[in-house]
């Protein structure tokens, strides 16, 4: 086929982080025989599938890793491959990374996301529930089912809608945290907050949203953003650091305003 590289088989050496559970200290293990004859047409996770099948058949425990949709959108997969979250390819999740990105004889070091806010639960799986809690703290618009106005009553300039969508494309995989030298979650928080802040529907809660989300992110133990830019470079959805700048600005504005007296979070159900 036009432009289609021919399938090749690779023999690889894998150095994989193995850790039984949260409490275990963990260690690297090396797999060589299990990583032979890997087709370049396989995805990275399919390569791990093959290795796991071989491990199981030889009576050993397979490598636990998170994954679900395998089409780059659910955000559940993610491992650090040779020092890069989701591997070397730009704008690509581990499930969509294909083995044609590697050479025969390559040695791959495969590690979990590392951050105190993302404790390892087993092997390459980490607990990212901190992200859910950040959203629960304010990453929403407080609208109850059923009381929405007619959709076209709220015109949204196309530019704003597009920019909001750029932010909303975040899949919550946590690669930004994994890549950040400070293990900061700022790109995630910025994407979520600015997706909503950019829309007229999200404007009324803008101030309380940014304050609450930053409070939560800080409380979870993520580091601080010092504008290294690693997050943006590894983000599989190429979310721009400009959203962090926007978030900073919104945070400053929110901090300068006098808080209103009314109840903060909006009515419970």
């Amino acid at each position: 086929m036009a432009g289609h590289g021919e399938e090749k088989l690779l023999n690889l050496t894998l150095n994989v982080w193995r850790q039984r559970n949260r409490g275990d200290a963990g260690r690297f293990e090396t797999y060589k025989d299990e990583a032979r004859d890997i087709s370049t047409d396989m995805s990275f996770l399919e390569m791990l599938d093959v290795v796991n099948e071989r491990l199981i058949k030889s009576g050993r425990e397979p490598i636990a890793f998170d994954h679900d949709c395998r089409e780059g959108i659910c955000g559940q997969c993610g491992v650090v491959v040779n020092g890069s979250p989701h591997g070397p390819r730009k704008a690509t999740t581990a499930c969509q990374l294909h083995m044609r990105s590697f050479q025969d004889g390559d040695s791959l070091t495969i590690e979990p996301w590392r951050a105190s806010a993302f404790p390892v639960v087993k092997d390459l799986m980490v607990d990212r529930s901190a992200f859910d809690r950040i959203v629960a703290a304010g990453g929403y618009i407080s609208v109850r089912t059923g009381n929405a106005p007619e959709a076209n009553n709220i015109p949204v300039p196309k530019y704003d809608a597009d920019l909001s969508m750029d932010a909303a494309a975040c899949i919550g995989c946590g690669a930004c945290v994994a890549a950040c030298p400070n293990a900061s979650a700022m790109l995630f928080v910025a994407a979520k907050a600015e997706h909503l802040n950019l829309l007229p529907q999200g404007a009324p809660e803008k101030d309380s949203r940014v304050l609450a989300m930053i409070d939560q992110a800080d409380g979870e133990g993520f580091g601080n953003c010092t504008n290294h830019g690693e997050c943006e470079a590894v983000c599989p959805k190429e979310i721009s650091m400009a959203f962090i700048a926007r978030l900073n600005r919104d945070y400053l504005k929110a901090s300068l305003k006098r808080p209103r007296a009314s109840a903060a979070a909006g009515g419970a159900g």
Binding site: N15, F28, V80, N82, G83, S84, P88, T109, E111, R114, A115, S116, A117, S129, D132, R133, A136, A137, A179, P181, N182, A183, S184, M186, L211, A212, I214, D215, Q216, A217, D218, G219, E220, G221, F222, G223, N224, C225, T226, N227, H228, G229, E230, E232, A233, V234, S240, M241, A242, I244, A245, R246, L247, N248, R249, D250, Y251, L252, S255, P259
Partner: protein, 234 residues
Amino acid sequence: MSVVASSPAAGRRPAPRSRLQRFLTSSIGLKLIMAFSGVFLSLFALGHMLGNLQAYQGAEALDAYGALLHKEPALLWGVRLGLLGLVGMHIFAYLALTRRNNTARPKGYRQRKWRESSYASRSMTLTGPLLLAFIVYHILHLTTGTVHPDYEEGAVYHNLVTGLGGVNGLIYIAAMAMLAFHLWHGVWSMMLTLGLPEGRYGSLGRTVATIFTILVTVGFATVPLAVLTGVLHL
């Protein structure tokens, strides 16, 4: 039974505090303090550099400039205290942010590949303290004369030329190289923190940072260089 660890509770959020307290302890608040003090320190550096350039107009001009600065002690001390305050804010933010960053990743990676960060951005925590040490030295050297063997009160040009020869000149030039790293990331980072760049990130902010850094650090470095090469002499 089953109350589950993974069931998110809003528990880890810090307790409500005053607005100021919240600002002073939050990651973005600290960053803003860092950036805000950074803006004024950068502007001070620019002004200081421009002042230094008067050395090229000769001893008279420079000494007169020095005298002008000392004319109103209240103003002078006001500015000095202001600068001290800004440096204090800068250091306070640095300490608070760094302490948190150091605990955010207790276990590091075996292998690491940098894709976008620069040596400048990753060395901020090193260049910062080194610059502080340099500034202390610089004040003891050219402001108070404490460590200057040939210091004469009020003779700015003389102090400069006698103080920046030899190894000292090299130290000053090395410090400016360090300042270049610090400013290059700092100025750009400060703009981002203050929320300035619009649209797609990068180009404008980077360009401003690069021009500013070159201007300030090269401007500064020419003086010791001129002393070392004999362009400036007694």
